[in-house]
């Protein structure tokens, strides 16, 4: 009965499939246990999220594919993807998802997990460094803009020193130091 010698279809060696047994089946549960990700498994791959995304056209993995990869257990690929960092966090995908999957929030969770594994792109580390050094990301240089609006030149109550001190105790500092 077990005669299946004659094979149809392409040979396995040429396809080089992803071996499902090598994927991390717990990844899905891990993400689901994180804030706002409970609805992950409700995804039915409609790709509304991708249609809504203003930037996914230049991504290798589109939002619906990333969600799918999470469900399948492709942890390595998702956490080292550049897309989770390129996400504008505009929430368009999340607003429109018909199954209430919190796509943007899930990408935040992915970023957090990636950070824990030290997988943060260098430009993001660069931003962190700037934040640590200057206590703010955008320094107001053009005083005239504020003046034109009738505001005093310096931002009132801005205490970059306090921010710097606090940041030293956060993961941002650990990441920046680890990244150096």
């Amino acid at each position: 009965m077990t005669e299946m010698e004659e094979q149809s279809g392409p040979p396995t060696t040429l396809i080089d499939p992803i071996d499902m047994s090598k994927l991390d089946t717990k990844f899905r549960e891990q993400i689901k246990s994180m804030p706002n990700s409970e609805e992950l498994s409700a995804c039915f791959a409609c790709s509304t999220c991708t249609a809504a995304c203003p930037i996914a056209n230049i991504w290798q993995y589109k939002p619906h594919q990333l969600i799918r990869m999470i469900i399948l257990g492709m942890k390595e690929e998702v956490l080292s993807s550049s897309e989770i960092w390129l996400c504008l966090t505009c929430y368009q995908c999340q607003e429109r998802c018909p199954q209430k999957v919190r796509v943007t929030d899930i990408f935040f969770d992915c970023k957090n997990l990636a950070a824990e594994e030290g997988k943060v792109p260098s430009n993001i580390i660069g931003l962190g460094k700037e934040l640590l050094e200057k206590g703010q990301l955008y320094t107001v240089t053009a005083d005239w803009e504020r003046e034109d609006l009738g505001l005093e030149p310096a931002v009132p109550g801005l205490s970059v020193e306090a921010v710097k001190t606090i940041l030293k105790e956060t993961r941002t500092n650990k990441l920046v130091e680890g990244g150096e």
Binding site: T2, G9, S41, L72
Partner: protein, 418 residues
């Protein structure tokens, strides 16, 4: 017009049985012809049935199941005097004119008298010639295989406590006059032997959904534990593939309509009620019409894996498992799985003999199923003059739809007699 003539019903599945009972209860005689040895048709071993998740055939054997209603068909088919049930029988010829058909029936030999058999099991112990088709069989009686005519069988005939056995029963031919004909011949689940890419028939662990239904039925051989046909070992990984032979111009162009729902039903039973079974479903579209979307959402929530794409390659692994490569069209990647059971959601096709029936009665064909007489009208059960069809004889349908159509056919007949 001989309005007192009975109505002929061909096929005793859910649809034919409903029609018979409804006619009989309205005082109209019904001749119910069934070619198998049990009524119930394809729904006999379905275990839980959508949309209510309980059983439509609530016989003694499954009283313990939660939420079971006792089936009213049970006594009706045998005891209702207006129903004449012809088991093991087929329609031979149909002549005459609408409203006054003359039908000859080939009635199979009645080895066991169902009214007498108490299913005590004595004969089964005496000889292999007797067996019980299913605890849900109807008539509730054992069946006899005449080719195994051994001494034990003769002994059983003598010792049967109710004298229910007649080993020398002969087939007969009967001629009946009927006013109307209801076709309730149902469907057949395609055996996809010709679709070589799926390896059906080449490996014991490649099966169809109806075969899976039998395996997971708590009344079945393994008591509902999913086991591999190859070695009886427990099943841990199941892969299903949708649209096998449906929506395929090489086989059947239509969508079989309910295979998505029963695949989801099976996936949910496996993941929620059985221990540690992982299910993957390979699909092109998941078509869960109206209320059935709920089954899809439940399946995703309970961890069933959905892969949009098609099966690329199947290779028997060691130890009876199957290595399957699937092309995932959403990711544009190939995925490799190792599974214990590969289940094909195979097309629901017209049963054998449908083409002949269509031709001899001059009916229309709808992709091989019985076509409705006037497609523009809303009379979807009227297929000819005094000829009706209901249930899956008209094309793939669920039980509730089949029952509704059976009732519609009966109501048309009652109206025509007024």
């Amino acid at each position: 017009m001989s309005t007192s003539n009975p109505v002929l019903i061909i096929g005793a599945g859910v649809a034919g049985m409903t029609a018979a009972v409804e006619l009989a209860d309205s005082g109209i005689k019904a001749i119910l012809v069934e070619r198998q040895e049990t009524v119930g048709g394809n729904a006999l071993d379905l275990y839980k049935a959508f949309p209510t998740d309980d059983c439509f055939y609530c016989f003694e054997g499954n009283r313990w199941r939660p939420g079971i209603r006792k089936c009213f068909y049970r006594s009706a088919l045998i005891d209702q005097p207006n129903i004449s049930l012809k088991m093991n029988s087929e329609v031979n010829t149909i002549s005459g004119k609408p409203g006054q058909f003359t039908v000859t029936l080939k009635v199979g030999p009645q080895y066991i008298i169902p009214k007498k058999c108490t299913m005590c099991g004595l004969c089964i112990e005496k000889s292999k010639a007797f067996h019980l088709l299913s605890p849900q069989c109807q008539p509730q009686a054992v069946v006899y295989t005449p080719s195994i005519n051994d001494d034990g069988a003769k002994q059983a005939e003598e010792e049967c406590p109710t004298k229910a056995i007649r080993l020398n029963a002969q087939p007969t031919e009967e001629t009946v006059k009927v006013s109307d004909i209801i076709i309730a011949t149902g469907y057949h689940e395609m055996k996809p032997v010709n679709m070589t890419e799926y390896g059906y028939g080449k490996h014991p662990n490649i099966i169809t959904q109806l075969e899976l239904a039998k395996i997971i039925d708590p009344n079945g051989e393994s008591g509902g534990v999913p086991v591999r046909p190859s070695d009886g070992k427990p099943v841990k990984r199941v892969m299903m593939v949708q649209c096998v032979g449906s929506r395929d111009e090489n086989y059947y162009p239509y969508c079989s309509k309910i295979c998505c729902v029963f695949a989801l039903k099976h996936a949910n039973i496996l993941t929620q009620e059985r221990d540690g079974v992982q299910v993957s479903v390979v699909y092109m579209d998941i078509r869960t019409y109206d209320r059935y979307e709920r089954y899809y959402r439940t399946a995703r929530e309970s961890g069933v894996e959905f892969i949009r794409g098609r099966v690329s390659l199947i290779q028997p692994g060691e130890d009876g498992s199957l290595d399957i490569v699937v092309y995932d069209s959403l990711l544009n990647k190939y995925l490799k799985f190792s599974v214990d059971l590969f289940v094909l959601s195979s097309a629901l096709e017209p049963p054998e003999g449908t083409a002949k029936l269509i031709e001899s009665l001059g009916l229309k064909s709808a992709s091989g199923f019985i076509g409705i007489a006037d497609p523009i009208s809303e009379n979807e059960v009227v297929v000819g003059d005094h000829i009706y069809a209901c249930g899956t004889a008209l094309g793939p349908a669920e039980v509730p739809e089949s029952v509704t159509q059976a009732r519609a056919a009966v109501s048309k007949i009652i109206q025509s007699r007024k």
